[in-house]
Symmetry: none
Subunit: 414 residues, 2 copies
């Protein structure tokens, strides 16, 4: 069984947006054991859509389509699907109900909006709880076609709540079992070298993938076969072998992001956290507060972008900034200490750096970042020299601060 | 003249990486007046590569290929291109020189590495100054094929230094002119209804696209033709027509994100900003500080996630929280006033809400959000009732706060 993804919309083809939907969908399909053969991005062009549908259906069994379902004239996916299947339209009652429900809080509803509930007669409708465009499920000649909105969160909920469960029900996929280990503090190639014996011992139906992110590498074992119980046991054994070789670098034995590892560790021990952020500009706080229940651990953050606010919010001594600069070990120490004192948390992390592109000097070029992690017993600090890309520097700084905090936590709460 | 992009490699199809190369390439091609018809991502599979090359050459004049040029066995792009063109290999002297040069600093060179300099006999070589895999330029039946490494910075450098200049020299491209208007505070369908007369008056070579995001819709006019000066004038006229119809909703007449609109507006008037964030958890601060130079406007943020920190950082009266709750008009007013006072900024925005999934009550269900924007003269507030998805609520709250601030700014600095 294989799948293809077709994304429809000019904005990808003119490079205005990066197509993040396809990677997310491919990952989800992979997780349920479906291989993706091709991802095609095409514009809102009738002939091209028809040709692409035909070509995809000749290669794959399942065709997932996103985009082109808006109410405006440039969106032609629905019309073109009806043409492809040689069918007319019907107004779907449930989809209409959904449109009216959404507009109840928005004001008057236009005919154009009501038409969102018109669907090709041969499809079954997938409800869209987050927008007015319904999803559509078609079957023809043993192939399944699913059309979804291109708005990421609408597509994601529809995939998770409707499409993936239906696909699993409709087809009998090979069983697939994944097991992920999150490592930090070691590069991909060094990790690979250490893991070699375990990797070479893997049976052919178990694959190991290296998924690197800044400062971290996820190791994902995937086993394909018939007997899920057996696969689980085999993957467990393989994971155990890897743990014996690189266990010291493993910070989580499940697939969760670094900040969630920190939150879970602290919540289990009823510890609280605050952050004092300069160059990360609130990004660490944002990472933490993305997670439901983070308020049990995270009390708040001082984003002290200006030097004045470093003094006012965190009590950093102006003489320290004067003498050592805002980007210095001394300043991040004072920031972390200030957060502990002012906000009464058990732990605090602080970051100060030059994210760029401006602000660098010969002594402290763009990418120079100091981080500190402070707890009841001690404060540890580290300096980094990243590159000259602002967004990357912000992300790497946040990851480095969280890793430093985790190190301190593990030392003090082994 | 049109182009297609083919990216070759398993990592995109299993969702391991997001294909950022294609968007970058599409943007560069667009800038020189080349329309991209399709972007196809396929795996390292010989038959599939051959079929995809053939299909692309039937639709487009220029086919850009990335990936599959590494020295290991799984990389088969070069071999498959030789098969596609029915040619053998030659060792390229300059490419060999480059490989040897790179390995001079790396250590011993393997036969596998020397073979990087072997190229199909019919191509001309594009030097790769950042890696061992040379780029390759093919011409056949009036079509151009270019094969490049998939490593982003190797590809980018090769595109800018070699591929784009050669394409411009080889072909005479149609001009392409884009013009974007950013609207806020009106839904896509209502906007379309109002714009209808302007849209219907558009000549066929000018297209209008609606690009919606939470709380905003970008309108993009694209004109294709021979005479760039004429196209610019025509797009200007069309944009003016749209402005006459929906000008009150237009917050920017160029393609930039909402938070940058706010930053630019404030920087031009030398105004400063702070944020007081509860449910957005630092996300507004993060949006602002993504932009280089934001420190000219943005002083900092108090992320007061706990009620205690709302008092300690912002001086919110505990009796107000007690009486009206943390999610209330009264509390966001106090938060914004507190930020102005404590951090000495000209303006402040504040947000308090229930992001979910927990924490809702019958009176204040999940998705209830209050925002305030405060300046030297007055404070305005607004209540929203969003849905039950945490990340979406965080994003919508941030957008709503920025829009409310922009409204206040425009009122007070018309």
């Amino acid at each position: 069984m294989s799948a293809e993804i077709i994304t429809i919309g000019d904005e990808i083809l003119i490079g205005q947006i990066v197509d993040t939907n396809s990677a997310w969908m491919a990952q989800k399909l992979n997780e349920i054991g479906l291989q993706v053969k091709q991802i095609s991005s095409i514009s809102d062009n009738r002939v091209h859509i028809l040709e692409t549908l035909k070509a995809a259906s000749e290669r794959a069994d399942i065709i997932l389509i996103t985009g082109g379902l808006g109410p405006t004239k440039d969106d032609i996916t629905k019309k073109t699907l009806a043409e492809y299947f040689g069918t007319g339209f019907r107004r779907d009652e449930q989809a209409l109900e959904n449109v009216l429900q959404i507009f109840k809080n928005r004001g008057p509803v236009l005919e154009m909006n009501l038409e969102q509930a018109d669907v090709p007669a041969n499809c079954s409708v997938l409800q869209n709880k987050n927008g007015t465009a319904p999803g559509m499920w078609f079957e023809q000649d043993g192939k399944v076609y699913v059309s979804m909105p291109g708005v990421p969160f609408e597509m994601m909920y529809m995939m998770e709540e409707e499409v993936l469960p239906r696909l699993q029900q409709r087809f009998n996929f090979t069983a697939i079992v994944h097991h992920t280990l999150l490592t930090a503090g070691i590069g991909e190639s060094f990790l690979a070298k250490l893991i070699e014996p375990a990797e070479e011992a893997l049976p052919p139906h178990i694959r190991l993938a290296y998924l690197p992110k800044p400062g971290q590498v996820r190791l994902r074992l995937s086993a394909y076969g018939e007997n899920e119980t057996l696969l689980k046991a085999q993957v467990e054994t393989a994971a155990k072998h890897i743990m014996e070789l690189v266990g010291e670098y493993v910070i989580a034995v499940e697939d969760k992001p670094l900040e969630k590892v920190v939150l879970d560790f602290m919540e289990q021990r009823q510890l609280t956290l605050t952050t004092a952020e300069s160059c990360t500009g609130g990004y660490i706080a944002h990472l933490l507060t993305q997670h439901a229940g983070s308020s049990a651990v995270f009390l708040g953050a001082a984003v002290s972008y200006s030097n004045q606010l470093k003094q006012d919010m965190l009590g950093v001594n102006p003489a320290v900034i004067e003498q050592f600069g805002a980007v210095s070990e001394e300043t991040v120490r004072e920031m972390a200490a200030g957060a502990l004192k002012a906000f009464h948390s058990d732990y605090a992390v602080s970051v100060s750096g030059i994210a760029g592109p401006g602000g660098g000097t010969p002594e402290k070029p763009v990418g120079t970042v100091w981080v500190a992690a402070a707890g009841p017993k001690k404060t540890i600090t580290r300096k980094f020299q990243f590159g000259n890309k602002r967004l990357q520097n912000i992300e790497r700084s946040a990851v480095s601060a969280l890793l430093l905090l985790l190190k301190l936590l593990q030392e003090e709460h082994a």
